[in-house]
Symmetry: C2
Subunit: 258 residues, 2 copies
């Protein structure tokens, strides 16, 4: 299926599932929408924390993309949204048209799903993909560079990688700096404040085999966490796992020079 | 100093020290010389184990290089040599002219010293360089692909790297596949058969700080180990640390596409 078709299905209410594995080869992104009074600081915050929150497109006027897709409607072409009020998720909806005002600014943020295909094609097993589970995610003690009211700690996704493939996984993912790039940490979970790998803070727990090492990548859940921690009066995000599927291909963001 | 000048000094007996830090920017290599009856198998052995024993040049006729330097004399332009008889080092000499016969084949093998400069330039401290020590080296349980009588385990060098720079170190060194490339193992020494990091099998012990992870690269000591283990009747190698300094620059072996 092409992303345009998928987004039409979503807009018509016929696709409300997670987007993992859909439109393989096309990049999927996180979405955050904020009132203008917060938007400027958030944009600087993203740019100061490019590894955790790699900004791909900002839509300041209206609600249609221009870079990631030609006029995708961000109000109803994402399968599900979180409505956040005073830092709490008050509702999950499939269409945010009723919430739209000209005051909203939309941010589309890179996602590590984009490099998983290439890891697998290079013979690197991804346990959560094999098991059809959600990736394991954890809160860490890695502090983000603060900007105004935006501050907090990085959330990471974890993938167990066979010991002899660790360097290869670092190199492959480094080619995608706008999808979080290479791991932020390799092995030794306690060094980044993770006490129990068996108990992820988000997503599913996966087995780590004896010849495997846990690798940690920054995760798109990071900004959602920041918004709830600061008790933001109003914000909208995609529902985790229910991503914006763009018209851009993985290879459009492949950087040869690393 | 240019490599040509250094090699002249060496040939005239005026430089018999280790070559670390000399002619910065030029690649240094390991050297192994074997009788013809072993040479063919050894060449295949190198090619089957390119990460441990990356072959840069083979000199089959005579004793002069043509690729790595224009007519460097391998008999006296290396500061020191090990003479190996029946698998034992019987002598260390500065000139192997008396041992030369037309039966000898020379192998020049990539060395991880070549990427250390770039690691340091990228803000990655190398403890053994800071402390002017020899790099720590260890025997492992990583089995080489055997060819004929050539078989054995990989020897690795270890460098402690700050946790947030591990992926960067993997990426930088991956650009030098003919100098061992990216690490063969990251963290967890016991997984590759190393019991005590404080007791290296070769070289010096270095401190590993609390926020650092040990990274392991294949090491040019590997073939020397194989030769002694198989009790080879006769062979000559460079004396560890006393390398062949070539006319090629590090960047000549930098591979953009990784």
């Amino acid at each position: 299926m092409e992303p345009q078709e998928l987004r039409k299905l979503i807009a018509s209410g016929k696709f409300q599932r997670p987007t993992a594995g859909v439109c393989s080869g096309y990049i999927q992104t996180n979405m955050v929408a904020l009132p203008k009074e917060f938007a400027e600081d958030f944009e600087v915050f993203c740019k100061k924390n490019p590894k955790a929150i790699p900004l791909l497109e900002v839509v300041k006027d209206g609600y249609e993309t221009s870079f990631l897709a030609d006029k995708a409607n961000l109000l109803n072409e994402i399968p599900a949204y979180n409505i956040i009020k005073n830092g709490e998720i008050t509702e999950v909806v499939n269409d945010i048209t009723p919430y739209y005002t000209k005051d909203l600014v939309f941010f589309l943020i890179g996602c590590s799903f984009s490099f998983e295909n290439e890891l697998i094609q290079n013979g690197i097993e991804l346990r959560h993909v094999t098991n059809c589970q959600n990736v394991s995610m954890y809160n860490t003690n890695i502090t983000l560079t603060p900007v105004g009211k935006f501050k907090g700690k990085m959330v990471v996704s974890m993938r167990p990688i066979r010991k002899d493939l660790v360097a290869k996984a670092c190199v492959i993912t480094a080619h995608y700096p706008r999808m979080h790039g290479s791991p932020i940490h390799v092995g030794y979970p306690e060094m980044i404040g993770i006490k129990d790998l068996d108990k992820p803070d988000y997503g599913d727990s996966v087995e780590i085999k004896e010849d495997e090492i846990p690798l940690f990548w920054p995760c798109g859940v990071t900004p959602q966490n920041v918004l709830t921690d600061m008790k933001i009066p109003f914000a909208i995000t995609h529902l985790p796992g229910h991503m914006f599927v763009s018209d851009k291909k993985d290879e459009d963001f492949y950087e040869k020079d690393i």
